[in-house]
């Protein structure tokens, strides 16, 4: 469960995020939709504690990201925008490294890694060095790495970027499985179809502000539009930067 209250962040003269509030609940997939540069990444970066907000706070399963960032990190699994893996380690070693950094015991992290390798169908390349992996395989490795410590909340920043159709399908089914298991999934995207197809809740963000949020049906209803795309364009004011 992620509760965001009035986050603001400014980089020099640019106000990247202005008073953003949202909720992402357990057992649901929440999509952060907005054009490029709307503040989606900054919001997620604040949530996964890589940058600090100027004001506002967020609670991850009740833990403040501002006051207890180290503790909050235990409850989240993160797939950042640039999810690079270590070239000279194998896929499995990459995953185990994060388990160790999360303070898991050897036996625990090894069995969990095997579980994830099974779940993400990584068996064929688990013992291969990461520099020899395809883009999709690297993404799977990064995802498994993010899930090694069994986080309740999963944050993904534009996870489908640069993936081929098959990899995108795999990712979707994985996110759906995480939802079924009761995880709270929050991901950002500028691809409308993707958000529409996958999300239970949508938070529309533009120019650093939350302009609307709710289920797809609720959004359509509220704006009096039968087509979700028209609804978004109406919300954001322009179709620019959306796909």
């Amino acid at each position: 469960m992620i509760e965001v209250n009035g986050l603001s962040k400014r980089f020099g003269a640019i106000e990247a995020v202005r008073d953003v509030s949202l909720r992402a609940t357990d057992g649901r997939i929440t999509g952060l939709l907005g054009p490029n540069g709307a503040g989606k990444s900054t919001t997620l970066r604040i949530l996964y504690t890589v940058i600090r907000p100027d004001s506002g706070d967020a609670l991850i399963d009740g833990t403040s990201i501002v006051h207890a960032p180290l503790e909050a990190r235990r409850h989240i699994g993160v797939l950042p925008h640039s999810a690079g893996v270590y070239q000279h380690l194998t896929a499995r070693e990459n995953i185990l490294y994060y388990g160790e950094l999360h303070g898991m015991s050897r036996a625990d992290r090894e069995s969990r890694a095997d579980e994830l390798i099974e779940l993400l169908e990584m068996k064929d390349f688990a013992t291969r060095r990461a520099k020899k992996l395809s883009q999709g395989q690297k993404m799977k490795t990064a995802l498994a790495r993010a899930l090694i410590h069994r986080p309740r909340n999963v944050l993904l920043d534009e996870p489908t970027n640069g993936l081929d159709v098959m990899a995108v399908r795999n990712l979707r089914s994985l996110l759906q499985r995480l939802r079924e298991q009761g995880h709270c999934v929050l991901f950002s995207s500028h691809v409308m179809q993707e958000v529409a197809a996958l999300c239970d809740d949508i938070v529309v963000i533009a120019r650093g502000n939350v302009v609307a949020s709710g289920s797809p049906d609720a959004l359509r209803e509220r704006l009096g539009q039968t087509d979700l795309e028209e609804a978004f364009v109406q919300l954001i004011g322009t179709a620019e930067g959306l796909e």
Binding site: V50, R52, L70, G84, V85, Y86, Q87, H88, Y98
Partner: protein, 392 residues
């Protein structure tokens, strides 16, 4: 604290698998620096030693005008090449490098000599040609010797004791020992050791910071529940490990090369056995955290891998400067100088090679200041990793 060890082990493991990192850690220290050092040494040996035995060739114009003088030159080992030059020809011969030194005997030499007046001689040479230095010096010495002989003969002929014109007598007493003489040539040892030392940790420092950011693995790493300064300490420690490895390899290689080259033939003895090698490694160890931290800080500040490479390439030269300075100025260790990292290690290495006693205070200063600055720099690196701008 456990996380520091985790990061350390991961960085070491990854670097051992990376050919470039491994090559820069071992290749430079084990192969490049001993080879270069051997080349420099054998060059120095050639310049210093066997040339003295080689006879000087001197072109003498109009040998028939001063047969006694020419006889004296030959007697003192100078190979006389009789030529017939006028002034322009002599100049041309020097300028075109056909001759190094030309001695002109003028027409009036014999008459003035016989009359007991100063007899003129002209010596042509190019003072900008360093290879001619030795020939000129030898020629002048032999000519001066001839003059002295004539003076004595003339004094005796006039019934004067020749010692009246020699009020003082200078005896050169050279107290340099073979080991101390070799030190000038061996001053470069510390330079090579330090270059290997820094090269050893360079790629690891870049990979762990600028490289990690460029490959996009940094952001994910910052989401694990580990303090950021602990992450960087692990990386600094890994760089330290590689620098230590490089240090040991290069000192061992230099020790082997030095004993192979055989400086004893030069009248130099080198104190570079296994015990000295070990002590040299120990005296350089305190420099490692300092070097690893400063390279990590600089690499963390740069925007890209390439930029980091450029800056660190320059940084490896910085510790060399105080060493060169100390070596060229012939500085002796003092408490103040021992507080300068890299210069203090240079003094320790030099003293060990010369087999001289070192004051425990100096050793303490060298170790203390280097380690202290290393700790300060590591703390700065830790703080630096808390900055958001780190993500680039």
């Amino acid at each position: 604290m456990h996380a520091i060890l985790t990061v350390f082990l991961k960085e070491v493991r990854e670097s051992l698998r990376d050919k470039r990192t491994l090559w820069s850690a071992l290749g430079f220290g084990a192969i490049f620096s001993p080879l270069l050092f051997a080349a420099i040494l054998s060059f120095t040996i050639k310049r210093n030693d066997p040339l003295n035995e080689k006879p000087v060739t001197l072109a003498v114009s109009h040998t028939e005008r001063a047969p006694n003088l020419v006889g004296h030159l030959i007697e003192y080992g100078i190979t006389v090449e009789p030529v017939t030059y006028d002034e322009t020809a002599a100049r041309a011969a020097i300028q075109q490098h056909r001759q190094k030194v030309v001695l002109m005997i003028p027409e009036d030499y014999a008459t003035r000599f016989a009359a007991g007046q100063p007899a003129p001689l002209q010596l042509y040479s190019d003072s900008s040609d360093q290879t001619a230095d030795r020939d000129i010096r030898r020629t002048k010495n032999v000519l001066a010797g001839y003059g002295a002989v004539i003076t004595q003969l003339r004094l005796v002929a006039r019934g004067v004791d020749p010692t009246t014109v020699a009020p003082i007598a200078i005896h050169d007493v050279d107290v340099s020992t073979p080991a101390s003489r070799s030190v000038l040539a061996l001053g470069t040892v510390s330079v090579f050791i330090f270059m290997s030392l820094f090269m050893g940790g360079m790629y690891l420092a870049i990979d762990a910071t600028a490289g990690e950011r460029e490959r996009g693995s940094l952001e994910a790493l910052l989401t694990v529940p580990v303090r950021r300064d602990h992450l960087i300490y692990g990386k600094i420690l890994a760089a330290c490990a590689f620098m230590t490895l490089s240090l040991v390899v290069s000192v061992t290689a230099l020790s082997i090369v030095l004993r192979r080259v055989g400086l004893e033939g030069l009248g130099m003895s080198v104190n570079f056995g296994p015990r000295t090698a070990l002590l040299i490694v120990l005296s350089c160890l305190p420099m490692i955290p300092f070097g690893a931290s400063i390279m990590t800080i600089i690499a963390a500040y740069t925007r890209s891998y390439r930029e980091a490479q450029t800056y660190l390439g320059l940084i490896t030269l910085v510790p060399i400067l105080p060493m060169m300075f100390a070596s060229m100025m012939g500085l002796q260790p003092t408490a103040a100088l021992m507080a300068i990292p890299s210069m203090s290690q240079h003094f320790l290495i030099t003293s060990l090679l010369r087999d001289e006693a070192i004051s425990p205070l100096f050793v303490g200063l060298s170790v203390g200041v280097s380690l202290g600055l290393g700790a300060v720099l590591a703390a700065i690196a830790g703080r630096l990793y808390h900055r958001e701008a780190l993500l680039g």
